[in-house]
């Protein structure tokens, strides 16, 4: 009944705002089951076709039309805002841990606030504020971390006492609370009406909207979108935007060439009640009680309350007809625990009468972040879906970023964390998605501590050494489906519950990783780094060199056998990828990139390399096992195994050579370790992996060799100020901004992508600077540990955020890496950041509201580099991350 009411309300407004649609909508209302001829026929072509008339589709249409694009058709298979959008709880909440999500929600809030004025459609916008409750100290810490990042964004937010909670919301039982976070500007809206308002504005700007039109498939030719087939005919188009919500996966698979959009629906329940005796004020703040797994908002004098239960019910795994969404059952037994939590939080509601239990499926993604961007295989095919139940909070911002992406080629913010290309086909299995979303949905309200990892959908991609390492005590984490070692639990050390320890403080693996680091510094360690993305690019003539010289910023015309660290930059000089490239021969190159670059980097190069059959690029990731031998004795191990001299004179730093190791021939050995420590990475054809590993371990025994994991690697890298792409570097960061000018050859005699932007920066200076901070008054044992995303203060003023952090066992201090900006004190305008500006400040890092003094450095401690191999170049790159 409530749903019906919302629907009717929106119909009235939609018609009021759109007189010319009146005849059609009113006639359809009365005989909605009979097929009627559509009064407006579809155009034969359009520049953009958007599929989906929910909040996402209408928001994209709105923003595209605002940016001046007019030739747009929006298709909706049912009625506008009738899917998940219609059922959405309508809470606009900015309290998001991921910074880009926070920005989207903040923008959405501002947009919705003025939407009614702009369009004349009532949106039901009401600024109520929201209160997130903490039942435990750990929860309060996580809220404080969010509060810190909200505050520096200029979004009012405060940590309040339970007593203050009671003042703001008289119905709440506060006896089990330790504190709360209050965000006064969070709001409530009628989400269906927001969507209709956006549609109205878009329609006024010239967007054509067609309801009851379903897209059967998208035609893709030569890797480009050319049109769509609908049940009412074809439309030729340049751009197709898949905003089909929970049907996006199926729609992506409907064409001849599938576009993989990894999302899966789960049932989501919320309760609607009749008004209280004394109807609740519509300005009463929304309550989020994550420890109780519920949210509660005021709704027409009563309440609306739902949550994210521990045992979600995934649905539509096999794909289903859309009509079934209307017939989903209420499941009170399933809702029972949430109802208990609600009555525990608001005992006074016992006598309140139930109106309805709404079952509204929401779509979830494998990593709890939404999906936007262009398909890696079909140009012009864009996606915006998988909102993880925060569609209304993200709707405005997400639509804006996607519109910018389409119009300008890239959004105005770094959206890599949301980019479709962070996934590949490997996340597209229905079984994987079903199992993963069953974990993701409860995670919405689970406490997330540093270094948490998904437990489902694991052991998908593994190194051939997986079993060997596992038997030696390896503890695993996952990246892009690949299992990677965190650290090794020493034998006899019974730390079975080590993985279960969740803490914001010093973790219990501290000493284990410490001893691995020590071994890297004093003897030799081996780390399996097979997950890295590896491409081989070769040509019959000079095509490979010429193309790569244009696409990469460093000079690749080096002698055969040299390894070059270089960025793959965009027009603005920002890092699309950060990689190492070895010149194998005059005409072939071996490229190593971060693990999650497999799809993005491939698509980027594919789209830019000339279409020339004599130029071949191959993804050889699966062909090689990579063993990283780190430490001063690595040279001894390797020379004994190969009977070849490995000293710096014979095998200088940043060098690559194929040689034999043990019985195995053709092992690609590179003198880099991604840590700044001496050593080698061995790229081993997988059939030799076990042999080489065994040989290395046997030979290494006398040199004290041991296994190590990524946590040790990370500590080594960060203490040496190595930036990592995806964590520290992104498409909005240039080499100039992170002290890597030496990896750019501005004068290499030919043009390269991003060159102009870099030259301009060189002339005018940079507006942010990658900086290393050493925490000074931080007690490793007692204080909260930094993670990433902590605000940085210079002379008491906010200047930026950290991007990664680690404990340095050498310095015996925490090291944070992050970007420093220079905001004008009066106007807030961004000014040039000079080394003097960095060096002449007093810095503090804010960890969950507590500030720690920090020393800023623009260059790493040279003492940490135990030896310099090649005079001119020090290895400055790292590939591992969180």
């Amino acid at each position: 009944a409530a749903g019906m009411f919302l629907r009717l309300l929106s119909d009235i407004q939609w018609r009021a705002a759109h007189p010319k649609w009146r005849r059609m909508t009113s006639s359809q209302r009365s005989t909605s089951t009979t097929a009627e001829p559509h009064p407006i026929s579809l155009p034969a072509q359009a520049q953009v076709v958007i599929c989906g008339g929910g909040i996402m589709g209408t928001s994209v249409a709105y923003h595209l039309s605002k940016m001046g694009w007019k030739d747009i058709v929006l298709l909706e298979q049912g009625r506008l805002a009738a899917g998940t959008t219609r059922f959405c709880a309508g809470i606009v909440s900015t309290a998001r841990p991921v910074s880009i999500e926070l920005k989207m929600a903040h923008y959405s809030n501002k947009l919705y606030q003025q939407l009614e004025q702009e369009t004349g459609v009532q949106t039901g916008y009401m600024k109520t504020g929201s209160i997130s409750l903490a039942q435990t100290q750990d929860r309060l810490i996580s809220l404080k971390r969010i509060a810190s990042s909200l505050n520096v964004m200029g979004i009012p937010c405060e940590i309040i006492s339970p007593k203050k909670v009671l003042q703001l919301h008289p119905l709440i039982n506060i006896h089990d609370l330790v504190g709360a976070m209050y965000v006064p500007e969070d709001a409530l809206v009628s989400s269906a009406n927001v969507s209709l308002a956006l549609a109205t504005a878009a329609s006024r700007n010239g967007v054509q909207i067609h309801e009851r039109t379903s897209v059967s498939h998208v035609t893709i030719q030569k890797g480009r979108v050319t049109g769509v087939e609908t049940d009412r005919g074809q439309i030729q188009c340049e751009y197709f935007i898949n905003c089909a919500g929970q049907w996006a996966y199926e729609l992506g698979h409907s064409g001849g060439e599938p576009v993989h959009i990894p999302l899966h629906a789960c049932e989501h329940f919320y309760l609607l009640t009749h008004p209280l005796k004394e109807p609740l004020s519509s300005s009463l703040p929304t309550i989020v009680d994550p420890d109780g797994r519920i949210y509660i908002r005021n709704w027409q004098g009563g309440i609306l309350s739902g949550g994210f239960e521990k045992n979600p019910k995934p649905l539509f795994t096999e794909g289903r007809n859309q009509l079934e969404i209307q017939n989903l059952q209420e499941d009170w037994d399933h809702f029972g625990p949430l109802l208990s939590a609600l009555l525990r939080r608001m005992p006074g509601l016992e006598a309140l009468q139930i109106m309805q239990l709404v079952n509204c499926p929401e779509s979830f993604t494998p990593d709890m972040r939404c999906i936007m961007g262009e398909s890696p295989t079909a140009r012009g095919y864009f996606v915006l879906a998988g909102m993880n139940s925060a569609g209304i909070s993200y709707g405005g911002g997400a639509g804006k970023y996607l519109a910018e992406w389409i119009v300008n080629g890239y959004p105005s913010e770094n959206v890599w964390p949301l980019d479709l290309k962070r996934f590949g086909t490997l996340q597209s299995s229905r079984t994987f998605l079903r199992h993963r979303v069953m974990e993701v949905m409860p995670l919405m309200y689970d406490l997330k501590v540093p270094r948490w990892d998904f437990q489902t959908g694991r052991q998908l991609r593994t190194s051939p050494l997986y079993d060997r390492l596992d038997a030696q005590g390896a503890r695993w984490m996952e990246k892009h489906g690949f299992e990677r070692v965190k650290y090794f639990v020493p034998p006899g050390n019974d730390l079975l519950d080590l993985d279960h320890s969740k803490t914001f403080y010093k973790p219990d693996w501290f000493d284990i990783v410490g001893s691995e680091v020590k071994c890297c510094k004093e003897a030799v360690c081996v780390i399996d780094m097979s997950s890295f993305t590896k491409f081989e690019i070769s040509s019959t003539g000079d095509q490979a060199l010429e193309s790569l010289q244009y696409l990469f910023s460093n000079d690749l015309d080096v002698p055969v056998g040299h390894v070059v660290h270089t960025g793959m930059l965009n027009e603005k000089g920002g890092y699309e990828n950060d990689c190492s490239i070895a010149r194998l021969s005059k005409r072939s190159f071996f490229m190593i990139s971060p693990t999650d670059q497999q799809v993005h980097c491939w698509a980027w190069l594919k789209n830019r390399l000339p279409d020339d059959s004599n130029l071949v690029m191959e993804d050889v990731t699966w062909k090689y096992t990579a063993l990283n031998l780190i430490g001063p004795r690595a040279v001894d191990v390797l020379s004994e195994l190969s009977y070849a001299p490995m000293t710096a004179e014979h095998f200088p730093s940043l060098f690559c050579k194929e040689m034999s190791v043990g019985y195995a021939n053709g092992i690609r050995v590179m003198s880099i370790t991604h840590t700044g420590e001496p050593g080698f990475v061995l790229y081993i054809p997988i059939e030799y992996a076990l042999h080489v590993y065994n040989e290395v371990m046997n030979m290494g025994q006398k040199y004290g060799i041991r296994n190590a994991g990524y946590y040790a690697l990370r500590s080594l890298r960060i203490e040496k100020f190595f930036a990592f792409w995806g964590q520290d570097l992104d498409a909005f960061t240039t080499p100039m901004e992170c002290g890597r000018e030496f990896q750019v050859k501005l004068e290499k005699g030919m043009q390269f992508l991003g060159q102009e932007a870099l030259l301009e920066q060189k002339q005018n200076g940079v507006y942010k600077r990658f900086t290393m901070f050493i925490l000074e008054d931080h007690d490793t044992d007692m204080d909260l540990w930094p993670w990433w995303g902590e605000p940085i203060f210079r002379n008491g003023r906010y200047v930026g955020k950290t991007t990664s952090s680690a404990y340095s066992y050498t310095l015996e201090r925490h090291v944070c890496l992050g970007f420093v900006h220079h905001f004008d004190e009066k106007t807030g305008e961004e000014l040039v950041v000079t080394p003097d500006f960095i060096n002449q400040g007093e810095y503090e890092i804010d960890i969950a509201g507590q500030r720690f003094q920090a020393k800023a450095k623009l260059y790493p401690f040279s003492s940490l580099f135990t030896q310099r191999r090649r005079k001119d170049e020090v290895e400055l790159s790292g590939y591992q991350r969180e």
Partner: protein
């Protein structure tokens, strides 16, 4: 003398076991949701056995009940060994080779079965080497045979049954230098056991039955009611075809003496069984083995006793009848049970009781608010009560336990009478067998969604 409800429950639940097939097993989606099993002894010690295991080298799950007679030795041995014989019969040639090579070179063996055992379901440690050697001889012969054909489940089941019975017989004839083992193999051979085994792989359900235990499929009709479909034939005197078969296998002169008082040779209730070499070996062989056997065997009147009218052995076989059934979405569960259950309950009642139990637990009638005036507090109370009902001590967590409760405690109205239950369970050991037999039940629940998707 009166047992309180908790005491009754502790007796009924002492042997209950449940296994839920994990959805996250990462391999394939199983058509089996899980199973419940339980046993209630009447004999002391109980002569029934049960087994359940997942095949690891091939697909599918094995479940079986075994009813022993003249002691539990044979039922115990069959419960330990039969599934290995079946699993080996199903293995492709390459896997057999791989296993043989591993044994040959002393490497770790591929695991063949994952057992799902109650702590009371034990395996004999002493005999494991002997059993293993017999099994190995079997797979070596399979390797030598290498027919190259794909393994048919029906054939595999029949071969496994026959081979194991043959091995039991051979081991007893050969004997063992270890006197304990020697006595054990003789006890196994001279006692007997029936077997009813189900193999489920996707929608393919095979039931192999030897003897008078029974497999029954619970089917939910479109109107929601429950009906039973037999998936095995009892091998006893009530089965005319079986009586015919026995008569066919022996000269006409013996026709009168073959079946007397509904028993084989006037002695044995089941017409097919493992062990029971008294009904299989020639008189000379029986005498030779008993004479050379240990004293305990010679002192035993039963083993020395030669059945009357014993002219043309063998009179008994372990060869099973195999029924194949393609599972349909309406097939909700399978009940495997020894005759102890079927003597007291009609299969139609079994289907109804289990069917209602399973739907009651897993899909209680959903609550719909509809147009009623319900407050949050009332709803909360209602839900709490529903949860409590499910988990209450009286309500069983296990479908097999639930069935045993009905089998033992049902009054003339078909409802559980606590007083009757209490009396039946407090019978002294020596009396119990007169009122009831050992009962062993496995209830396998199927996943209709998965079955429907095939």
């Amino acid at each position: 003398f009166y047992l309180t409800p908790p005491q009754v429950n502790s007796i009924l639940k002492a042997n209950e076991y449940s296994f839920k097939v994990p959805e996250f097993d990462g391999k394939n989606v199983s058509s089996v949701l899980g199973f419940d099993s339980n046993q209630l002894p009447a004999n002391a010690p109980i002569e029934d056995r049960r087994s359940a295991a997942t095949c690891l080298q091939t697909r599918g799950m094995l479940l079986g009940v075994f009813d022993g007679h003249a002691g539990c030795a044979c039922a115990q041995a069959v419960s330990e060994r039969l599934f290995y014989y079946i699993a080996v019969s199903l293995l492709p040639h390459e896997t057999l080779l791989e296993i043989e090579n591993a044994v040959e070179s002393g490497r770790a063996l591929l695991p063949i079965l994952q057992w799902h055992k109650h702590p009371n379901d034990y395996f004999s440690k002493e005999a494991s080497k002997l059993y293993f050697n017999s099994l190995r001889t079997y797979w070596q012969e399979l390797i030598d045979l290498n027919s190259g054909e794909t393994t048919d489940v029906r054939e595999a089941l029949i071969n496994a049954f026959k081979r194991l019975d043959n091995d039991i017989s051979l081991e007893a004839q050969v004997g063992d230098p270890n006197s304990f083992l020697n006595y054990l193999v003789l006890r196994v051979a001279f006692s007997g056991a029936t077997a009813c085994v189900a193999h489920v792989d996707g929608v393919d359900l095979h039931v192999a039955n030897t003897g008078d235990s029974r497999a029954m499929l619970g089917v939910q009709e479109e109107d929601g009611s429950w009906s039973a479909v037999n998936l095995s034939y009892d091998h006893n005197a009530q089965n005319e075809r079986e009586v015919e078969r026995v008569k066919m296998e022996h000269p006409k002169s013996e026709e009168k003496s073959l079946v007397k008082q509904d028993r084989l040779l006037g002695l044995l209730m089941p017409f097919r069984a493992f062990g029971d070499v008294k009904f299989k070996w020639s008189i000379e062989l029986q005498k030779r083995v008993i004479e050379s056997g240990p004293d305990q065997l010679n002192d035993n009147e039963y083993t020395k006793f030669i059945p009357p009218n014993y002219y043309t052995p063998p009179y008994l076989t372990a060869e099973p009848e195999v029924i194949h059934h393609k599972l349909r979405p309406q097939d909700k569960f399978l009940v495997l049970a020894t005759d102890g259950l079927w003597e007291t309950m009609h299969r139609q009642d079994v289907a109804r009781i289990v069917g209602e139990y399973l739907t009651g637990v897993h899909h209680q009638q959903p609550i719909a608010v509809g147009g009623y005036k319900v407050t949050l507090g009332q709803m909360h109370g209602l839900l709490t009560e529903r949860r409590a009902r499910i988990s209450s001590a009286f309500e069983d967590q296990n479908a097999a336990t639930h069935l045993i409760r009905h089998a033992v405690g049902n009054n003339e109205f078909g409802t559980v009478d606590h007083e009757r239950l209490s009396k039946m369970l407090s019978l002294p050991e020596e009396l119990a067998r007169m009122y009831r037999d050992d009962i062993t039940i496995i209830v396998v629940q199927f996943n209709s969604h998965v079955i429907g998707a095939y």
